[in-house]
Amino acid sequence: MSNPTDPRQLPGADPHTGNRQVDPVTGYDTTGHDWGGITELNTAFPKIVIWALVLTFLYSVVAWILLPAWPTGRDYTRGLLGLDQGTQAVEGYRKLNDGRKDWLSRFAGDDLAALQSDSDLMATAMPAAARLFADNCAACHGTTGQGGPGFPVLSDGTWLWSGDADEIATTIRHGINADDPDTRFAEMPVFDWLEGAERTALAQFVSDLPNGPADFESPVGTLFIDNCSSCHGDTGDGGLGIGAPSLTDTVAIYGQDAETVMETLLKGRRGVMPAWSGRMSDAEINLLTLYVAHLGQPGGVAQ
């Protein structure tokens, strides 16, 4: 006579009515289960839960009908809206491009001077250039172009490769010591073959250059003329447009104290500026060029 589905035979049930203990707080009866004191109420499934379930299922079914959803072997259900995320991404990109085309396309030409003199255009373009600079250049050159150890300052009047706009554009486009066939090349060679005493004296000589007139007739001066002047100039004031810095000011990018110069002589320097022609359009490079040229002028501040 054992029937596990008969409520009258469940533990805790009234053997005549099948009712079980009723919880005084909620008024529901219990399921009759008891796990070391834990009991459960036989509460009916709340209607609101059923409606909520139905609602979320409906949402899903509608989504499956409208959007790509279920795989069918080598294909999938395309959905009534016919959406494709690749197409959508390209469309979105085109739309953004169209929004700035009317002013950005004017930067595609070569006449940078003419662009620079158009103050309306520059007012439109410079905020965009500032974002471009901050997202692509600031990591090395600083958020305001203030440079950093090993990275040139862009916000002063000193230039390794000239501050002329066309030259700046060439540097951005092809980089320095970069992976680009037309890249600029610059290298400070290693002078580890110099005798120790000579190297120490030369380092001291170079670090003293910014302090005033130096004696180029002295033995160490001769050492400088023989080894350094072909790139850094006869008096060490650079300016040859080949990436060799002036040594008579205090803005050499690696520092010009005797210790740093010693390190430079021993190990050489070969800094890299990446080539951006593959990552930015010509218009964007020209835009950045004008921004960087502007940074270098007195009163030109990062926006």
């Binding site: 509460t43 991404a89 901050a134």
Partner: protein, 541 residues
């Protein structure tokens, strides 16, 4: 530990300890140097320490014959201690890396302390160390009480707990040495993964064997959740960690998955680590400790069944919502999104069931900080599952993805839900297992509660703000079609939120330290044990 084992069990334990030491020695000898060698020596050290402890106790007296008439609570006690130790490690590192995001220049010039190595120490320390130990410890307790039977074995609980903690220690020390599989929440290398499989299978067998001995006609719903946790985590762990070692003697390996399949497998694992490690097991904890502490029946048996099957069925589909707008096909994203939305109702059914269970016990919620921990856990469970389904909707995700909103969402789940229910369970268990009626300092529990709630709210609210700010800044264009903000500006805008997050985390950590101190004070000098008994004695083995 040793006093609860019979002499013959001590012999078996001694043998296993020596085997562990030998395995570690073989690893170290084969690898000779590097991460694997260090890990080999760690196993040697652990094996030898265990061998000394067990060897030294070989001639101690046998445990009283009465032990089979009691529940086996020593492993649970050990698991709780490990839970608290990992809580302090994991949360401490969490606060430290949160501070590094605010003061990045404070990073020490030492590779082991770089952000990239410390972050997985935080996640593994919390998920596996803190969460895993809490789950194993409470599962042994809940399993025995709701089955009215003693654990089916005296050695296997120790294999599970000690083996699991060796896995955690291997994982965390590996990251510090720069060893990682680069899979989120599955960073540990191949031999650690294999070791975890052995531990996990032992755990599963122990669980099933104990359930088979139950003196109750039905299996309580908490056990279903713990079983889902054990089974599905095994499946996820094995599939996601399939990898070919570069050599049998080094830690490096290549995953067998590649490209977008790898991404899909990884997030199928990653999201279900949230679902079955951080949700299913903890729901088991909630379904046991909430009715026990409140003295109320579970509000609806039917709801608990429907939400169990709803959660186990729907969760396994939703991992692809981590890959919206990626190379993953659109259809897979749609499925992930819709199943995430359908998952909401079963999740809320559990949260609602828990809160409705408190009907008739609200005065206890007011007076008892332990029960309040569980109540807040249920509320945060409801909040974060709603948030999860919401963030999984594709257009919403386009704003939230890659921002700190995700971080806020995860912590509303881990701090507000997972950690709160663990603390509620610990404050219920620790006095009971030590034969006391309450914690050494009930006032400290109260302090802990408010520190935890304040910390969670500060953390979560600051990360919501941070994430939404980031999302809006990244997608803003000016009238000329140019980006309104550079990325650096969006980083600078995070400073106040990151500071607040650090403060919130520090408050939460302080609470955990208070808890550890309080538990230590309660356990210290406690000679008693739990007074409840199984219905029938376990047959001697």
């Amino acid at each position: 530990m040793t006093s609860t084992l019979t002499v013959s069990e001590r012999h078996v334990g001694l043998l296993l300890s020596i085997l562990l030491a030998l395995m570690g020695f073989a690893m170290a000898a084969a690898a000779r140097h590097g991460v694997m060698a260090v890990h080999g020596f760690m196993a040697v050290g652990l094996g030898m320490a265990l061998a000394f402890v067990l060897g030294g106790a070989l001639y101690d007296p046998e445990p009283s014959a009465d032990r089979l008439r009691r529940y086996y609570d020593a492993p649970t006690r050990f698991g709780i201690v490990m839970t608290l130790i990992w809580a302090m490690i994991g949360m401490g590192v969490g606060v430290w890396v949160a501070a590094l995001l605010y003061w990045p220049e404070g990073t020490p010039l030492w590779p082991a302390t770089s952000f990239g190595r410390l972050r997985p120490v935080h996640t593994t320390g919390i998920i596996f160390g803190f969460g895993g130990n809490a789950l194993i410890a409470t599962s042994f307790h809940v399993l025995q009480r709701t089955s009215r039977a003693r654990l089916a074995g005296s050695i296997s609980p120790w294999i599970v707990l000690i083996g699991f903690n060796l896995f955690c220690a291997w994982a965390v020390t590996g990251y510090l040495m720069g060893s990682t599989q680069s899979k989120e929440y599955a960073e540990a290398e191949w031999y650690a993964d294999l070791w975890l499989v052995v531990v996990w299978v032992t755990y599963f067998i122990l669980y099933i064997r104990t359930l088979a001995r139950r003196a109750e006609p039905h299996i309580y719903v908490a056990n279903w959740y713990y079983m889902a946790f054990i089974l599905v985590v095994a499946m996820l762990h094995i599939v996601n960690n399939l990898a070919l070692p570069v050599r049998w003697t080094t830690a490096e390996s290549f995953p067998i998955w590649s490209g977008v399949q790898d991404a899909m497998v990884q997030w199928w694992y990653g999201h279900n680590a949230v679902a079955f490690f951080l949700t299913a097991g903890f729901l088991g904890m909630l379904y046991y400790f909430l009715p026990v502490r409140s003295g109320r029946p579970i509000w609806s048996y039917r709801l608990s069944i429907v939400s169990f099957w709803g959660i186990t069925f729907f969760y396994i589909w939703v991992g692809s919502h981590h890959l919206h707008y990626t190379a993953l096909p659109y259809w897979a994203q749609t499925l992930g999104m819709t199943f995430s939305v359908m998952l909401l109702v079963p999740s809320w059914a559990s949260a609602g069931n828990a809160i409705a269970t408190l009907n008739g016990a609200w005065h206890k919620v007011r007076d008892d900080a332990t029960l309040r921990f569980m109540f807040v856990a249920a509320v945060f469970y409801g909040l974060s599952t709603f948030e999860g389904s919401f963030l999984a909707i594709r257009p919403v995700n386009s704003l939230s993805h890659y921002t700190d909103w995700t971080v806020g969402h995860v912590h509303s789940g881990t701090l507000g839900w997972v950690a709160m229910i663990v603390f509620g369970a610990i404050y219920t268990l620790v006095p009971q297992l030590n034969g006391k009626t309450e914690m050494a300092s009930p006032r400290a529990v109260e302090w802990h509660f408010w520190l935890a709630v304040a910390g969670t709210l500060i953390y979560v609210v600051s990360m919501w703000n941070a994430g939404i700010t980031q999302g809006l800044m990244w997608r803003a264009y000016d009238a000329n079609g140019a980006l309104s903000y550079s990325f650096v500006q969006s980083v600078e805008a995070m400073a106040p939120f990151y500071l607040l997050r650090t403060i919130g985390g520090a408050l939460f950590l302080t609470g955990a330290v208070v808890c550890a101190w309080n538990c230590r004070a309660t356990m210290r000098g406690a000679a008693g044990h739990a007074t409840d008994r199984p219905l029938v004695a376990q047959p001697a083995e």
